[in-house]
Amino acid sequence: MENVLSILFCLTLLYLVITSRLKTYVSILRAQGVLLSAIMVFPFLHHLSVHILIIPLMSLVIKAIVIPRFINKIIIDLDVHRIVEPSIQPFNFLLLIVASMSTIFVAAHVLSGYTPIEPIPFASAFSAIVTGIFLIIFRKKLIIHVIGFLILENGIFLFGTSVAAEMPTIVELGSMLDVFVVVFLMGIAINKISSTFAKQDVTVLGRLKD
């Protein structure tokens, strides 16, 4: 069942690649948030308890509700709705992502041979990480960089759950809080940038150089 969810997660990534509407990005973020918390809850489905549910709920709240809404707000403020001038053809981008995904899956399969990992969640987590990085690399809009960063974080989150490293609750919460604050600060920064530079785009950030 976990594997199914992970596959779904991967699908969201692919969809993320082909779409060009920012709104869709946000909804994908939401979906991923839901999926992630589902994946977290799933193993304990039989013996649920408040203590276990805290983290999933928190992540649900932050990842699926707060952050997407916040980003939505930024998008509306800046009133950018679609990706103009993508610096890479969507098709090539898709090709790239698919290629890397498949490599990751193969690699994961190979690794699972002699280390105890479940290949599918592992691989999908990594695909998410890679996709996030590629989003940052191949898109110019700062807001999409933020989204890419979030995808990356989601990937890591999934990875964490799949590896099932016991994190103390406080640490989990701390990490999630951190992510949130980071995004928050980034949002403020983007606002500032678009107000100072009249264009919220990496190309404007070229003053500091040697």
């Binding site: 940052i136 003053r207 150089k209």
Partner: protein, 656 residues
Amino acid sequence: MIQYLFLIGCILLLIGAIAALLIRPVKQALFFVVVINVLALVVNLIFALMRLIALPAVTDLFPVFPDNASLFRADGLALFFLLVITAVAVPTIISAYTYLQHYLHKEASVRSFLTSFSLLLLSTQVVVFVNHSILFLVFWELMTLTAYLGMLLEKEKEEVQKGSFVYFATMHMATFILYIFFFLLHDHFGSWLFSDYHLSLTTGTIFYLVCGFGFLGFGIKAGFMPMHFWLPWAHPIAPAPLSAFLSGVIIKTGIYGIFRVIEFCSPLPVWMGIAILVLSVFSAIFGVWYALAQHDIKKLLAYHSIENIGIIGIGIGLGVLGVTYSVQSLVWLGFGGALFHIFNHAIFKTLLFLGSGVICNNCHTRDIEKMGGIVHHASWFVALFLIGSIAISGIPPLNGFMSEFLIYKGFFNASASLGNYFPLLMLLLAVGLAFVGGLALVCFTKINSIMFLGTERSKLQSFIVSRSEYTALGILASLCILFGIYPQSLLGIISSVITFNHAGIILQPYKMFTHWEFLTVIFACVLLTIVCMILWKKFNTQQRISQAWGCGYTPLTPRMQYTASSYADEINSISSHMLHLEKDVTAPKTLFPQQSHFISHSDDFSEKKFIAPIYRYIINKIDTFELLSRTDIRFYITFMLIMAIIYGGIAIVWPH
């Protein structure tokens, strides 16, 4: 009691360094610092002499501090260098008193100069006693640093910035080389103490590595060609007392280091001794030849330091050969000549640099083409400067000749005692040295006659030489004469130093090697002839002053005089390619000649051919390197990814 003297001297110097910053007004500070430094130096001079006369090695240099026994060691060589340093530093400080009077309006600069100079004196005196590698490096770097700070007296001048920087950078490089040198030694012996280092040829590569790095590192400091390029930069821009000290003492510390290297790795192989000889004669000849092409008095003197370092190097090379073949007489002549010349060069080069300081302050230029006729203002000063010039040209009856004489004797001795092809080599070296002597003669006749004699090329209202300057120059000049007429006074000490530092070799008394008394007689009679002739002239003739004979032309004008360029041109044009000599000539052409002139100047080959191109190459490469100077954040992320992949690749190909 004696062992406290050095400590007292050092403390006094420290007091001077601090006092320079505190005492107000700056005039008082200057006076106080000069006095206290002279005091300290005299104390240390006494210390050095007393130790040298009764020469066992002393380890407890700072008796009040516990267990410094292993850190410091006052052996013969160290004490000899202390003698040199103090003997030179006293007059330097004395004349610095007047020199700095010209800069009193720049209070901060004067204060910093005084402080750094006192600290320079301190570190230079301590560094020769250090027995511990790291401590040695510390004082070595302190020496560099304080000398650098001293150069900043006129830091707002462009050339001062450039020159001091070249000095600083070069010294830094030399220190890096010395790091490796000491690390290698420590690696091999597992100890930081000089006294534990004794390499022999059997150790193989480490021996050659140590020698290589040692000679390179110290050679840069000493200014052997082709590592000399920093001297013509540093000496001209330094204040006269400092450049005197630089040329008199600081570069000698490089020689000190070379002596230590020879001590660590002995016996050196024969080819190394020969290499030292060849390199040294090379530096001697080209040093003096470049000097001949200069018109900046201080730059010219700087090149002469290179020449004299070359001569010292020849002595060292002979000594090395002597050690290798265990020919005691050669050891004595070589090392003895080197040490003696170190002392002599320190004396007369300081004399000349201090004199040049006086000249620069009065004429407000360093270009000798603009001077002339100074003798009519200050004939005593000229006489003193002349003594220095005669001494440095290695002409009897002054001290410069004496050390060269020893080295010549070394040549003869080597060719007689070493046999096979050595006579050929030695003859060539001797001829080289003779050639150097001839060129030096030309060079110093040039500067003396162009600067002092004839008539003034540019108006010179007054030429003031203060009392302190006369004292300083007087001391040095009288030392020149003393060691010329009565060299035994120093040779006794030197031979005991050599006997001490090359233990095992029991040396015959130095009198064996030449009839010094006989020499003394000759020089005495030369002087005697001069004196009696002068008297005779006094009584004998009636004199008349008249206009110079102009061959029927209108009386001479200052612009008719020979210039330095044209004076040196005859000899320089022989090797104009090697000197990178550039001439700018417009000869008088028509029947009624128009404006015509002749200027020549030469560039340093090692700077022009090696240093500058390499540096420029690197800078160009850097300028064209654009990969990492991107501003787009996406590149940074890409770099991250790439590095992760690269490291991952390494991890995959990693053996286990």
